[in-house]
């Protein structure tokens, strides 16, 4: 990360001190503006997926990839996860990742759920 040093940017005049004390998360404003722009582009892209009526696996993969990219950018830059210590990052990020795995397994099983529902509700008709 070219930007990583922004966090502990030493004060220019640092005479004798080794490290200027910098409070909290301080980063140049440019990175926020860039990520903001990027989020706009990604949102427009996901809106266009619907606008052009893309269907099937193309629609699905685009929606999910754009969603995860946006979520990742917000958490990493806006919420400063990129610059936190790993002890905090793992506590916060690992549980939702496990949830997503669970959700993915659920989605894969969905056709089976639908099938059994269909069988159950159609029983009277057949």
């Amino acid at each position: 990360m070219a930007h990583a040093e922004g966090q502990q940017h030493p004060v220019a005049h640092a005479g004798g001190q080794q490290h200027a004390h910098v409070e909290g998360q301080q980063h140049p404003i440019g990175i926020y503006l860039k990520i903001w722009g990027l989020l706009f582009v990604l949102s427009t892209a996901s809106y266009l997926v619907d606008y052009f009526h893309l269907q099937g696996y193309l629609r699905w993969s685009l929606i999910i990839v754009l969603m995860l990219l946006k979520a990742g950018l917000i958490v990493a830059v806006f919420m400063h996860m990129l610059w936190e210590r790993l002890a905090l990052v793992y506590v916060i990020v690992v549980p939702p990742v496990l949830l997503m795995v669970l959700l993915g397994i659920g989605a894969l099983e969905a056709d089976y759920t639908f099938f059994t529902r269909g069988v159950f509700f159609m029983k009277g008709l057949l």
Partner: protein, 241 residues
């Protein structure tokens, strides 16, 4: 009997990076989250629990959506707006998305100016964030009104298809809208604190003896970005599916 020798640790203890850092932080027999104010760590823990609440909503939505035997109403058509005599799909939702993302951008900059102790800019940016949040809630109220009065959607049924559409929609967007509304209120509170100089003078907050510090702007920001984050998932999974 030998006496224990006291040593003064002049140098702060080293903080290793990477996986070694996780091990040393968690086994340090002190607080595990180094370099992070306790309020910020607690906000993260709260947001994690909130993630699980919204996840259970989205999982239940996934379950009913995938197993509903009646056809699901097409969100692209349900949420279309007629503009200049032409029906544009999902227009209102797209605008709401951009409004919320913009509010996230101004919030991130408010945090930056807060740590720089730039009172005026922080106050202005916090107010813009609150205004964008209120705009979002207003548009949501418009959307709900249109859906209830014109389309006849109810939590127990709707004329377009699967009855679960209404219940899931009102629960998920209602819960998210509540989060946004609470966020707007707290944004205004924090903005007033900034303007009044509470954070410069370390004036204790309402109902707490803790001194005011600029980290509360960042903690507020975490909550606000989380609200935006949840919307990203709702937008993708509910409206675009």
């Amino acid at each position: 009997m030998t006496q224990a020798i006291r040593t003064n640790a002049v140098e702060p203890l080293p903080l290793p990076e990477g996986v070694a850092g996780i091990v040393s932080d968690w086994s340090s027999d002190q607080r595990a989250f180094k370099n992070v104010p306790w309020g910020k760590a607690m906000m993260w823990i709260f947001l994690l629990s909130d993630t699980f609440i919204f996840s259970s909503f989205l999982i239940s939505y996934m379950t009913v959506r995938m197993s509903a035997t009646e056809p699901w109403p097409n969100p692209s058509e349900v949420f279309a707006l007629t503009l200049f005599g032409k029906s544009v799909p999902l227009l209102l939702i797209a605008i709401m998305t951009f409004v919320l993302i913009s509010s996230s951008g101004t919030m991130a900059m408010a945090v930056k100016f807060g740590y720089e102790k730039n009172k005026k800019m922080t106050f202005i940016l916090l107010l813009i964030t609150a205004a964008l949040g209120a705009t979002f809630v207003g548009m949501q109220a418009f959307e709900w009104t249109k859906l209830i009065l014109e389309e006849g959607v109810r939590p127990w049924g709707n004329p377009m298809g699967a009855a679960q559409f209404g219940s899931v929609f009102f629960m998920i967007t209602g819960f998210h809208g509540t989060h946004v509304s609470i966020g707007v209120i707290f944004l205004i509170i924090v903005a007033i604190k900034v303007l009044r100089g509470d954070l410069d003078n370390e004036r204790p907050g309402f109902l707490t003896g803790r001194k005011g510090k600029y980290e509360i702007v960042e903690i507020m920001g975490l909550y606000w970005h989380f609200v935006d984050l949840v919307w990203v998932f709702i937008f993708a999974l509910f409206y675009l599916w």
